[in-house]
Structure formats: structure tokens, C-alpha cells
Symmetry: C2
Subunit: 109 residues, 2 copies
């Protein structure tokens, strides 16, 4: 499943927003999402699986809990894809500064 497909679902985006704050157990996130979207526990679990399979999240087992944390790899790919559009909203000098900040500036001939 492509990174953008993963981000296409509002529940998954919400889960990632929660993970952006830091680690959370499956149960904590399930409670939040159930309250907000009114879906079942298995539904949330399935979304978490999608996040795992696509490399957006990884799990650590802590007793009976599964502690999730965000994995930024696929998000960086998405960010990289957006690069080609930044010129449409970033003024030139600022774009240069951003590139320098990223260490991506190419040698000029």
C-alpha cells in the first residue's frame, strides 16, 4: 500500500497525529479514535496494522500492552515528493534557505 493511500484515511491520520505527540498504547489510541469516529476496536486494530505494514509505525511489547511509536521513513518520502511543488508557494530566497537547511543544495556548474 502506497504511503499516500495510508494517509488517505482519516482514522489513520488521527492515529499518526497521536503518535506525533509520542508513544501510545494501542488501547489509548483505540479509546480516542473510538470516541471520535465511533468505530469498533477491531477496526482500529486493522488500521494500526496498515500503519505497521506500511512502515509508519513500530510496536514494542510491554506486558499485555502494545506500545506504538511513529516511524518517519514513509513520511519523508511523502515530504520528498512534495518538493517538486514547493517552488509554487515558497519565495525563492526562502526556498534556498530551506534547501541549505536540508543539506540538499547541489554543486553549481
Amino acid at each position: 500500500m502506497h504511503a499516500f493511500d495510508v494517509l488517505g484515511d482519516p482514522v489513520r491520520r488521527r492515529l499518526l497525529e497521536l503518535l506525533a505527540e509520542g508513544e501510545h498504547s494501542s488501547g489509548d489510541m483505540t479509546a480516542v479514535v473510538q470516541a471520535e469516529f465511533g468505530i469498533s476496536q477491531p477496526a482500529v486494530s486493522q488500521h494500526l496494522k496498515v500503519l505497521r505494514d506500511a512502515g509508519f509505525a513500530s510496536v514494542r511489547i510491554d506486558g499485555p500492552r502494545r506500545i506504538y511509536s511513529v516511524d518517519a521513513g514513509p513520511m519523508r518520502e511523502v515530504d520528498a515528493w512534495l518538493d517538486r511543488f514547493r517552488m509554487f508557494w515558497t519565495p525563492k530566497l526562502e526556498a534556498l534557505a530551506t534547501e541549505v537547511a536540508r543539506g540538499k543544495r547541489k554543486r553549481q556548474e
Copy 2:
């Protein structure tokens, strides 16, 4: 349709990549996408409609042609959503430089 849903489709991403290079007629883009994905003209036209409806592209009529150009608004929203994850891959000093470049730095107490 949410911006991320729009970007979830590979054909639409390809169309946007083409538009990132500059304006293109519907026909030109249709030819490229048909060659690459093997779908029909109506299919491409429907994807273009999605891009229009979601504010990713706008059209100018030139005789019998429709000339499309990219509209960056929704892409900026996507970029803004990603902000909360940048800390996971951007070293701190570079993150600061990026923020300064964007003029988003908040006053510190």
C-alpha cells in the same frame, strides 16, 4: 474529497507531476497517462475533474484545448500537516533554519 485521498491515486499523482513541470493540455497529459497506465480517455478526464474539484488544478480554455495548471493550495495543507512529523527527521538546527525560512518562528517568552 480530502487532499490526501486525491494524492492517493497514482494516476492523479502522475498528472500533478506533469503539472509541476508547467502547464499542459488535457490531451497531452492524457497521452502520457494512457501510455503509462493503460487507461481510457474518460478515466483520465475523471481524474482531472477530481483534481479540479479538490482545488489542485485550474483550467484555462484555449480554442478546443483545456490548458491545466497546478494550484498549490491543497498541497500546502498537506505540507502543513506534515509539519508535526518533521522533528522526527530534521536535526534541530536545521529545523530552526527551516522555520526561519518560512517565517513561522513564534516569539519566545
